[in-house]
Subunit: 137 residues, 2 copies
DNA sequence: CTGGATCCGAGACGATACTG
DNA sequence: CAGTATCGTCTCGGATCCAG
């Protein structure tokens, strides 16, 4: 977008759009990636494709493939093919993946623990929006 | 953890699509929400709308509004209007927001620290894909 | 300054069919 | 079993204009 080469000393902490770490974050910042990492971490062992599919209720095989590819590309997930018949493919966490898995699992756990509070906040918010005739927005 | 009506004893750990925590995760699992939480946490003080916009390089005001609304609705971000002229609106973290902020900031920090490794993994992956004539996929 | 409203294109995503 | 391919839908997200 814009490149301020030291133009503004008042903006010491910007999250630049060209920072490469953003591309990393954008891989993690999607629910299926979070679920895949969380699942692989929970089971503490490699899982097969259809195993993962059953575990991650609601995911389509397309999204699972896509997500696994992205995670594999970033070196977070390893893919091992056993040339048997029928074919057997296992997905496991790399050492990088284990690290991220701890972080993402923490988020998943937190979400689970605080679901009630957040659901309550939502209801309150929605009621406020509904009852306020002319909200000061 | 969650309750499945005992249909399948071989699937003890599924991530059910109807689990309410998923809706929570889906709010967090988008890059702008992660950035907003990270920014509010870093600055350790409420930020105004356009402050946030400048900090989060590349975000449009639409997405910023949308993201802030979602976070506010979930009780992670508080919105305070000072009826001055021109209007002044500040966004801060709630206690819930501070908690999530720690988790998401950890991810952001990790991404920043491991950007090199991941970029390298990507290059390796892409080259493998390019050189392998008939990949065993 | 802080948004809301609208239009629109690109990409996400789901469903289905097919293959080694 | 573990995918790939194709198609249609639909939401996300950017750009622009407008308002209190």
């Amino acid at each position: 977008m814009d490149t301020y080469s030291g133009t503004d000393a008042t903006a010491p902490l910007t999250y630049r759009s060209d920072c490469p770490s953003r591309t990393v974050i954008e891989v993690i910042a999607n629910k299926w990636a979070l679920y895949v990492l969380a699942a692989l971490r929970r089971y503490e062992r490699p899982l097969r494709f259809n195993e993962l599919r059953r575990v991650l209720d609601g995911i389509t095989q397309k999204m699972l493939t896509q997500t696994l590819r992205a995670l594999e590309r970033d070196g977070l997930v390893s893919r091992t093919v056993y040339p048997t018949v029928p074919p057997r493919v296992e997905y496991g966490l790399t050492s990088l993946g284990v690290q991220v898995g701890q972080l993402t699992a923490a988020i998943a756990d937190w979400s689970l623990e605080h679901t009630r509070e957040i659901l309550a906040a939502r209801i309150a918010f929605d009621e406020r929006a509904a009852t306020e005739p002319a909200p000061v927005r």
